[in-house]
Symmetry: C2
Subunit: 423 residues, 2 copies
């Protein structure tokens, strides 16, 4: 059973590998034309795509999936149009492949160039959102990579319909259609096989919740581009301006609570004026945010005590992704940094402070992909940073850290030209 599955998967991955070698040689114009053609195919096949999606939705409903799940799974004419728009946006961006990153001549006459090349074959494991199928395939194609897609079983019909459109676009544009492979196997073994296909898959990107990411990290012998988990903190220093503090924590917590750059814990310096602390907590509560506070905080604000739930130790490590916020009172800047060292996930961490020296200490000592002084953690985002397409937000330290643009899907090679040099 497993070996039959393995044979099928390896067959698809080998086709992808072979196609990646061809794809690496196409120029930007050809790849961009294919992206635009993929947009045309999506619109042309809209009826079929929506019908396939309807099948998935009916099945998910029968399986008793909650409304939020169905919402993620749902495609609409508007959502398809958004996908088409993003394909056109991507086609307009500069192709990083082929860039000469460095070039120098050695005393022996060797000319060394470091040039940017595609990674090869990207594997992606994702959950119910069918739009990831198009986004991920498009970014891979733009950067000259083949892609092997493995979405969730619940979106199978939708994903197959979308993949079909992209492959048609490749054929129409003279690019190798085998560069986009969809693995239609629901078993976990399919993911495990993908994650251990060293030599065929160059990088695995898990897109989804923490448990999906952990599973891929545990299983994978292929390099993983880790994205996503953000237990982000906003620290209000004793020197913080009130209005700035209020605006930043409200924005960081509630502008879009379900994303990874949203704040999950508020740290307040004990010596920040009591009345400001009280006003801020009351404001957060009145904004509909559930607060889970440490014992110190509850003691400092007896008037609010019945509205401040007692935080358990698990709260400091929880990524709520909802309108819940943990609150801790800290005795010093050092304590704030120590709390973040113990509980942060290295995503985005902010200090609100009027004292620049204290802010600089925070910025230099906190080890995270992005650290902020007097700004919301919500800015950790490819678009907000001014990058074009975003592949995700890396919370790992190797290869790419923070918002990842197109270059995260490339590597380099050294091209050395000589005239008979030996060593």
């Amino acid at each position: 059973m497993e070996s039959a599955l393995k044979e099928k998967l390896y067959g698809q991955m080998k086709l992808a590998k072979e196609a990646s070698r061809q794809l690496a040689r196409f120029k930007q114009e050809a790849k961009d034309a294919a992206l635009c053609e993929a947009g045309r195919q999506l619109l042309q096949n809209q009826t079929a795509i929506l019908a396939a999606n309807e099948q998935d939705l009916i099945k998910a409903q029968q399986d008793g999936q909650p409304a939020a799940y169905l919402e993620r799974l749902r495609l609409t004419p508007e959502r398809l149009q958004d996908l088409v728009d993003s394909l056109h946006q991507l086609a307009k961006q500069t192709d990083p492949v082929g860039e000469i990153m460095e070039r120098w001549t050695r005393p022996n006459g060797l000319v060394i160039e470091q040039i940017r090349v595609p990674l090869g074959v990207v594997g992606i494991v994702y959950e119910a959102r069918p739009n990831v199928t198009v986004d991920a395939a498009a970014i891979a194609l733009k950067t000259g990579n083949a892609i092997v897609l493995r979405g969730s079983r619940s979106a199978l019909s939708s994903n197959l319909a979308l993949t079909e459109c992209i492959r048609k676009a490749l054929v129409q544009s003279g690019l190798p259609e085998e560069a986009v492979q969809y693995l239609p196997y629901p078993d976990h073994e399919a993911v495990d096989l993908l994650c251990t296909a060293n030599g065929l898959i160059d990088v695995i990107i898990p897109r989804g919740g923490a448990s999906l990411i952990q599973r891929v990290l545990q299983k994978s012998t292929v390099a993983v581009l880790e994205t996503g988990v953000g237990n982000c903190h906003v620290y209000i220093d004793k020197t913080a301006d009130y209005d700035m503090a209020e605006a930043i924590i409200l924005n960081a917590k509630s502008s879009r609570p379900a994303v990874c750059n949203a704040a999950e814990t508020l740290l307040v310096h004990r010596s920040w004026p009591q009345d400001l602390q009280n006003r801020l907590l009351a404001k957060l509560l009145s904004a509909g945010i559930e607060l889970r506070a440490c014992e110190k905080t509850r003691l400092l604000h007896p008037a609010l005590a019945n509205r401040l739930a007692a935080a358990s130790s698990a709260d400091w490590d929880t990524e709520y992704l909802s309108l819940t916020l943990a609150v801790a009172t800290v005795d010093s800047l050092d304590d704030a940094i120590g709390h973040i060292e113990s509980h942060g996930t290295g995503h985005s961490e902010a200090i609100v402070a009027s004292d620049n020296d204290r802010a600089e200490l925070f910025l230099s000592r906190v080890d995270a992909a992005a650290v902020y002084h007097n700004a919301s953690t919500r800015f950790t985002d490819g678009g907000e940073f001014g990058f074009g397409a975003e592949i995700g937000i890396s919370t790992q330290k190797l290869h790419a850290r923070g918002p990842m643009g197109l270059t995260a899907l490339t590597t380099s090679k050294y091209v050395v030209r000589g005239s008979g040099q030996i060593r």
Copy 2:
């Protein structure tokens, strides 16, 4: 048993993690002073180090280790002096930490800087050479990283003596001595625990043979910097100049056969003049190189047939690391590229050709860390590329590819300064 070991290891790794946070804040001058002090300590404690090494050598001899093994294990006053010299060399190099890689201002006024920071804690697993203890610790310190060392059991006394010197130097220089940890546990479990200590170890570097590297890759959930295995090819095109071809393959194969950038397979275009082919093969044989040839090659050179061993299919995938060379005749440039695609390890690949168009095709299509036109594969080396210290040669595609300088032990972080911006 295992949990007692785990407790000890995690204790050491936590000390390293804590020390890494302090170390990240030291300036280049302090780190360079510590490197020079480590050199002084090595010389001052030479007698104790050599005595410890003598113990290791006696034990290895009793265990029946071969002469080459003992040679790698052996320390001498000259070898210690070499280590001291390399510490001084390293101290002279520019510290990459703190470099502002990019800086820009967004329309909303946010100022974003991407700055270079240490990775944190580097784990290194290595074999009998005790000099790696000093080299690896020094490179880690230079880049502001703490290091957890796990050398082979056979070099334990030597490694502990060397580690002691480095830790003394840290104390003398006011740096945290816990930044250098040696794990004195011979069991494989110690390596497994190191490789799965996510959150405490930021990257694992295996230094040694293919089986060590594979073992670490299989076991590790921590990111791995993969170095080393090189099944490198030299392809002699039909347009190759004879003298250049001879010089390059002789150099690539025999100047230092045991290293990863040495050539293991010679590919010869069928249409390269027969007399040149014959002369080249005879020359290689007379240089003491054992040739293992494909059937085609043996048929083309009947006069040499009794000196050309028949290659088995395993030969194309063997990294001999000795004076043995596989030889295959190919019918075309495409076939040569196809052979390298099937059997290469993505390390270093060379073409010898007078025709530039053919050479450029090879350079662009072959997917390896370094590709060469009319030069020896032996140049894939940090020193030869003009880098300073070399951490190893990466054959992976993520993070670093090819010879790795100091920057391979760093990552970046985004520092964002605002004035109350929200999204």
